[in-house]
Amino acid sequence: MKLINKHIEKDGSGHVTVCPEDDEDMWHLYNLIQEGDRVRAPAIRRIQNVSTTGTVDSRRIRLHLTLAVARVTWSPSAAPGADSGAANGAAGAAPAASATVEVSGRVAEENQHVKLGAFHTLDIEANKNVRIEKDAGGWDSVALARVEESCVPGRGAEVAAIVCGEGTAIFCLLSEHMTVVLQRLEVPVPRKISNQSSAHEKGLARFYQNLYTSFLRHVPYSSPSLRAIVIASPGWVRDAVFDFIMAEASRTSNKALLTARNKFIKVHVNSPHVHSLVEALKSPEIASQMKETKFAREGLMLDKFFKMLASDEMRAWYGPDHVALAADRGAIGTLLISDELFRSSDAATRKKFVGIVEDVKQKGGEVLIFSSMHESGQQLNQLTGIAAILTFPLDVEVVEAEEREAREEEERRKAEEGEAVEAS
């Protein structure tokens, strides 16, 4: 994303103009734009004019519209559950921005064609400037950090991953903030039968062949931005798959694929489902190579949280209320929070979470904002979306009791004050 213009007042109001370029930028925009903001972007609108004689003249014109946002929707690029055969971009070329963000609301600035208050739905387009204007307090530290992060040039290191089992394969493309499931391949492989027939071998051969064709279609193996191609599976399927891909590449003398040989990493995982991606990404082979990427860090940190939960339950807390209590006590060493929580339409809720983040940062704690387009983010979402590793153990029940006491104390004091007022 390119930052075109930025003007922010001290009170957190102001506007930012950016130019989204790819799918990931769309994801950033989806997370930046909130209900109540004003968004200015190019749009196409059908204009109807009724002339004095009663003829209706209708035409489409291109214009810039400013909307007061009422709703933002996001649809990821590859259709969910896209079955085999879904063509999606040629091999080698990075797929164009195909994820879409739709912003709907009332027009907030009148122009000669559109009246104030008319409804419109903007389809945010790639490579076209978008201006986002927020009211006082809208540009909080989290939003600004996201703008900054999204406009850093030269990110976009990508990793392709194939999670496979016997007869199933899932092709994923991971970028900094997103995991896109490109294809789900399922080939029926008969299981072994006692009367030694070759049905199993035949099924496997068919599976490898299909996998190879899908691989060529979906994985941009020759693109320089693709850092690694991870093949993850239980058992020995990954070895067989890798050998097959390489054998086919040399048979068809696919030079580009042969030179990409050292991009391949084979990883053992325990199940052939997509959620094994987290397991694959925290394996030592990968963790050492891409420590600095966001998804690897997220995976490692989530793992650390679960390990902490196992070893010292009092230092691993989750749930918004509990984490808020821990933050009050300055106990948070690492905060794990999902971007989903900031997308809340309720400004007060967002403010609360931003408050926790700022508080933790100020006290020297580490904050990781998980992207819910990654498997690790999804898992965090299931775990209420917020979790914290504390620097010192705190017992949930003790803390809750303390809170209760404090509240009672408060009430008593108020009651006493009330009495005192009455008495006087």
Binding site: G81, R191, K192, E201, P234, G235, W236, N270, V396
Partner: protein, 483 residues
């Protein structure tokens, strides 16, 4: 309206797609089958199925290969062929296992990767053997096999260090035992194998028995239903014949042989009056025509000629033939492991994990349910939202523990604590499980439901296993179907 076929008074001249056997005939066949089954219960040869489990390289496949040979199921010619073949690739120690490890990859690696199905004939029993893989990566296959079994044979390696490797945390001896018990198996025979490698030491045998006995009891196996037997599978000692006088085993072991124990296994009672449930564990091309599926009848009775629904999906298929171990059967009742040849169906609609049901008595489809689970010996506790894999018969799907409802007392089932924060090891609890959709398009996308029934309705269809990161973290029974 007429075009949409919505008016009720439209002529209802429905022509049956193909001549299906009239229900009366099927009814008669079912009656007949029931009579035979009752007669069989009192008769001599009773059938049951047994899963062979144990740590990797304990010698499960080898023992089964040897047993097949000794009981005359494998002829001399085949034995010689296997011996030659394995010697040729320099793996002569796998010669007996080759009979069960049929695929090329299994033979190359010298490891069982998927269930092998064989039949053993002992004097009083016909035993369907499911030889399970011991390697931890193939536990899904092992579960698929164990869910089709009535009893279990646990093979342990007596060699020093090997038994310990299998029995300690993370070893498959432990996990397999818990799995088969959770899947409803109550009888287990423990074969202490490779005793020849420890000079037939009685103290080693006793040591192993004494280590296993408390664990078996703790896992829920009744001591009267667990038997121990010392064997050496490779040499074929104490399998079908008592140890020869020359063997050191002869001096201290006078008990039954392995086959004697197998012969005394108690077949469970079969519920053939229940609605038909046939979970598919394998789909392959039929021997002659059509498409064949294999699996175990988990309730009711299946007869040729009937049209059955395939759940999930809208498809149905006609049962053309039923066979088991090469013999065609007139019917198959609950508890039998059979191959069913189907016609009139596109193979694409048959998946491993689908269930064949009678029309009108289809199995419900759910994507979330409550279950009572027992948490195994785990390191990382279960929190609300834990991502898991849910195993039900031969199907495994991604799921999550969406809600922790209560912690229960293990002995009497009363509620100890409502809404716990975490579940730690050896707890018993009531939880809500939801299937996960495997896309990232937000909460709107719904997971595909799977066929499931509460435990109170059908025991075999109501058992589930929960695994995470290659480790079984819990097992349980379905209480209530939600959506």
């Amino acid at each position: 309206m007429a075009g949409l076929n919505l008016n009720d008074d439209a002529p209802m001249d429905v022509i049956p797609e193909e001549p299906v056997k009239p229900p009366a005939a099927i009814e008669k066949l079912i009656e007949e089958a029931k009579a035979t089954l009752i007669a069989q219960e009192n008769g001599e040869k009773r059938s049951l199925s047994m899963v062979v489990v144990g740590h990797v390289d304990a010698g499960k496949s080898t023992m089964m290969g040897r047993l097949l040979y000794e009981l005359g199921r494998m002829d001399e010619k085949k034995r010689v062929a296997n011996e030659r073949g394995s010697a040729k690739v320099g793996k002569s120690s796998f010669s007996w296992a080759w009979e069960l490890d049929g695929t090329q990859e299994e033979r190359e690696r010298g490891i069982t990767m998927d269930i092998a199905l064989q039949t053993l004939n002992t004097p009083h029993r016909v035993i369907t053997i499911l030889d399970a893989p011991g390697h931890r990566d193939f536990i899904p296959n092992m579960i698929s096999g164990a869910s089709q079994a009535d009893s279990a044979l646990l093979v342990v390696d007596a060699a020093v260090g090997e038994f310990e490797a299998g029995f300690e945390r993370g070893g498959q001896t432990r996990e397999h035992l818990l799995l088969v018990r959770s899947l409803g198996v109550t009888q287990v025979i423990v074969a202490v194998n490779k005793l020849d490698q420890v000079e037939w030491s009685k103290s080693r045998y006793d040591e192993i028995c004494n280590l296993l006995k408390p664990f078996l009891a703790q896992s829920g196996f009744h001591p009267t239903k667990t038997q121990f037997v010392p064997v050496a599978a490779m040499e074929g000692i104490n399998l079908s014949q008592p140890p020869p006088a020359a063997s050191p085993l002869h001096s201290w072991y006078k008990g039954p042989t392995l086959v004697d124990l197998l012969d005394a296994l108690e077949p469970p009672t079969r519920d053939i009056n229940a609605p038909l449930r046939f979970p598919i564990s394998n789909v392959f091309k039929g021997a002659t025509s059509g498409i064949a599926v294999s699996g175990r009848v988990c309730g009711g009775i299946i007869v040729p000629g009937e049209r059955l629904r395939i759940v999930p999906g809208d498809e149905s298929a006609v049962v053309k033939a039923i066979d088991s171990d090469g013999d065609s059967l007139p019917w198959a009742g609950a508890g039998s492991n059979v191959n069913v040849t189907l016609t009139g169906v596109d193979p694409i609609s048959l998946n491993v994990g689908s269930v064949l049901c009678r029309e009108g008595q289809t199995v419900p489809l759910v994507s979330s349910f409550t279950a009572k689970i027992i948490v195994f010996d785990i390191q990382i506790p279960i929190t609300a939202g834990t991502s898991v894999e849910l195993f039900h018969h031969s199907r495994d799907v991604p799921a999550s523990i969406s809600r922790l409802i209560s912690v229960l007392d293990r002995s009497n089932g009363s509620v100890i604590k409502n809404k716990p924060r975490v579940l730690t090891k050896n707890m018993s609890a009531e939880v809500e499980v939801s299937l996960r959709s495997s896309t990232y398009s937000g909460p709107a996308s719904r997971a595909l439901p799977i066929p499931l029934e509460p435990f109170s309705v059908n025991k075999e269809m109501g058992r589930i296993l929960i695994r995470r990161g290659g480790e079984t973290i819990g097992a349980g029974v379905v209480l209530e179907l939600l959506t």
